[in-house]
Symmetry: C2
Subunit: 452 residues, 2 copies
């Protein structure tokens, strides 16, 4: 078991106090078979505290902080930790009762700042401090444990001896980890937690944990089991994985950490014997680039057209000039024609397209920056979807590609639900082009201004 | 002035020794107006030492390490620092003489491990230690100073008092920094240092520094000047910048940190009123993606064709079937036809193309993995270049794109020297297609297998 220590307090840095807590803890842990490999001595600044705790948790099984738990202004450890974990504080009655009793015996007035001593972050387990007013706290953070103790040496030593020492053996024996990853795309993190896995918390504890690792358009679920043996840890991970897979089904595109969405899509295309071509306006080549990052992708990737300018949409993809004129380049009709056009011209079964307002310029009230139409053409379906992403050009491009890949993946698997609950728009549901409306055509009709 | 302290030694972590050096240094520096904001106490492991020094140098003006300078096996600080800075050791005669004298007076035998005490990394300034055998060392690292001291308290205190205290005021007053960035592409870091800036070291000192920050296919030169005033720092940066620009000229594509090569190319295209189209095989869309990351790129980017499959090279770009058959997809002829074909079909002035063996499969002795042909078509030139990059698919794609952009940029500016000294191959210098050779055509004739 590897431990990191964090000593918090300016007094240690300017040399007013010698850091004896660190050496006491080093010896205490060393004698119990726990190896301290780093001590951080840092200032009482919330950002520094959060950063250091995060760093230490990434590297150590056990992190112990001391200091910054008093009732004065520069005691910010508790507040910083609540911010780090993004949780509220809860009131611990046993602590308040204990402090009131201490003050009564010492004949001191009980004030507001003393009351704050009985608050602890919601996700903390209380380590009751019989020797003082600042409670200790224990946090289970994914694979690691965080112990937060007051800096007053005899209080810290009391909590270590009475509360931590008895648990060390247990922790040491829960030291084998197993990890599994489940990957989904086109679902927001909060949607996943609130609607797909609403009661998953009740399945989690010190021995089995679930973390959500979001990236643009995707979430990777990391399941970590602890156990006394590899089997025990694996069974815990397996049970949780089974539960999650039952709820998410085919929404999980992979359970391999290094696997990517384009690979998952590629496997399905290969299975059906389909080849894919891309017609990209606002994504500018990113679809093709991401597809061709995977070795062997030439089995299912035929090629594509980057139709950044409207002239190219017409000459290389067969988009109608009248549609561009009446509906604008960012429209269902153009996305539909691009997807179908590229598939037909490249002689393949599937085509996908993108046309949108990538930003930062080119937005309008009707089609704000981040508006993207994606088109899909397969042997059985032809539809478009409309999404609104962000103000960032790069994020719009990336999210468009991820959403397009995931939409095609779900469509080929026969799933009804689309990413982000997007709705399919079919060619026949679009109103016929009415030449009388020409005068009211959208202000955005040039691909140039859209992508710029 | 912000200082970080690094205390090196397992004895501190297991609590055998209380870290009094850190509190002594904290007080000493605090009293002289230097603010210590972090102490790292770490093990005697080279990787940990390198990592921590690097971290501290990124955050502090002054970094002081103590410990690990003795002659025994677990004293690895000096070796770790030499590795970190990638420098050899040099022999300091004054130190050897001093140690021999100490040993003679104490009547002790002088051994090999003692001799190693007089070695210090090549880029170190010696801090002569009259109180012991381990010399102190001073390093100027970009914007920061690194002081390396022995861990024995009286030796450390002696060096701080006699060698560091007198310099602190100077350092504090050299506390204003100015930074400038000069960016180049298509030149290796060592080529830059050895051939373009061979004597630049003589222009550098504690007050003006030059760092080389390489990324795939590019190097960013960071010039950092220190001074007592902003003017003083700026003048130093300006003078060094002037000297470097005189030597590199138009090889510098930008002096803005956030500027990118595709923007620099875009400015030149815009200036000439040229538009660009891309024909990508092995880069799979990355050229288009990188060009369209820049807002406003629609002014000069028309579009492109991702011709991953040979059928697309023929149908969408007009590459001759006989050329593909005889020369293979990875050839000068195909790159030339792709570049010209995409420019003509998209009706623009400039076309660039890529066709290569991206890997990890598909290599042959004649065309190993990493072989890439790039084609260029402009109103005045039509040529191809051949490069050999690496075994990594992603790096091959990225380097191909950077090299193609830089080649076109230099070509439009009328520069003769191509990236990485690549040679232009013109259509008329290629031998005519001889049908009798058909039987000996290259084994690699299918685009599919090349990119897979």
């Amino acid at each position: 078991m590897i431990a990191h220590l964090i000593s918090i307090g300016n007094e240690l840095l300017i040399g007013d106090t010698v850091n004896t807590n660190a050496s006491w803890l080093g010896q205490f842990l060393h004698n119990r078979g726990v190896q301290v490999t780093q001590v951080y001595t840092i200032t009482d600044e919330p950002e520094q505290i959060k950063l250091t705790i995060q760093q230490a948790l990434n590297k150590a099984d056990l992190v112990i902080s001391t200091g910054g738990l008093g009732p004065t202004l520069d005691d910010v450890t508790k507040k910083s930790i609540a911010e780090l974990f993004d949780v509220d504080m809860r009131h611990e009655q046993s602590v308040e009762k204990h402090i009131k009793e201490l003050f009564r015996r010492r004949n001191l007035p009980y004030s507001k700042s003393n009351q704050a001593q009985s608050l602890i972050p919601n996700n903390a387990e209380l380590l009751f401090n019989a020797s003082g007013t600042a409670p200790g706290m224990l946090f289970t953070v994914q694979d690691s444990l965080l112990v937060v103790l007051p800096g007053i040496p005899h209080e810290m030593e009391h909590l270590m001896t009475t509360q931590i020492a008895p648990r060390l053996q247990d922790w040491g024996s829960l030291n084998i980890f197993e990890t599994r990853y489940l990957k989904v795309a086109g679902i927001g993190e909060s949607d996943l937690i609130d609607n797909w896995l609403p009661n998953i918390k009740s399945s989690l504890n010190e021995s089995i944990n679930l973390a959500f690792l979001p990236s643009s358009g995707q979430v990777c679920l990391r399941l970590t089991g602890r156990g006394k043996s590899r089997e025990e840890a694996m069974i815990r991970v397996h049970n949780l994985s089974f539960e999650i897979k039952q709820r998410l089904g085919n929404l999980i595109y992979s359970d391999e950490k290094e696997d990517t969405l384009d690979c998952a899509l590629g496997r399905i295309l290969t299975q059906y014997g389909y080849r894919l071509a891309t017609a990209e306006s606002c994504t500018g080549g990113l679809m093709g680039h991401m597809l061709t990052e995977t070795p062997g992708s030439s089995v299912y990737v035929q090629g594509g057209v980057i139709a950044y300018n409207n002239a190219i949409k017409m000459s290389q993809l067969g988009v109608d000039a009248s549609i561009l004129d009446q509906k604008g380049a960012v429209s269902a009709e153009v996305a539909l024609q691009m997807a179908k056009g590229v598939a037909e011209r490249m002689g393949v079964e599937c085509g996908i397209s993108s046309t949108g307002v990538a930003g930062p310029g080119g937005g309008s009230p009707e089609k704000p920056i981040g508006t993207v139409w994606m088109g899909f053409f397969t042997p059985t379906q032809h539809f478009a979807v409309r999404a609104e992403f962000s103000n960032s050009r790069s994020i719009n491009k990336l999210k468009s590609v991820i959403t397009a890949f995931e939409t095609l993946r779900r469509c080929l698997l026969g799933m009804d639900e689309l990413p982000y609950n997007l709705q399919k728009v079919y060619p026949d549901s679009l109103e016929p082009v009415d030449k009388a409306q020409k005068g009211q055509s959208h202000t955005l009709s040039s691909g140039d201004s859209l992508n710029s």
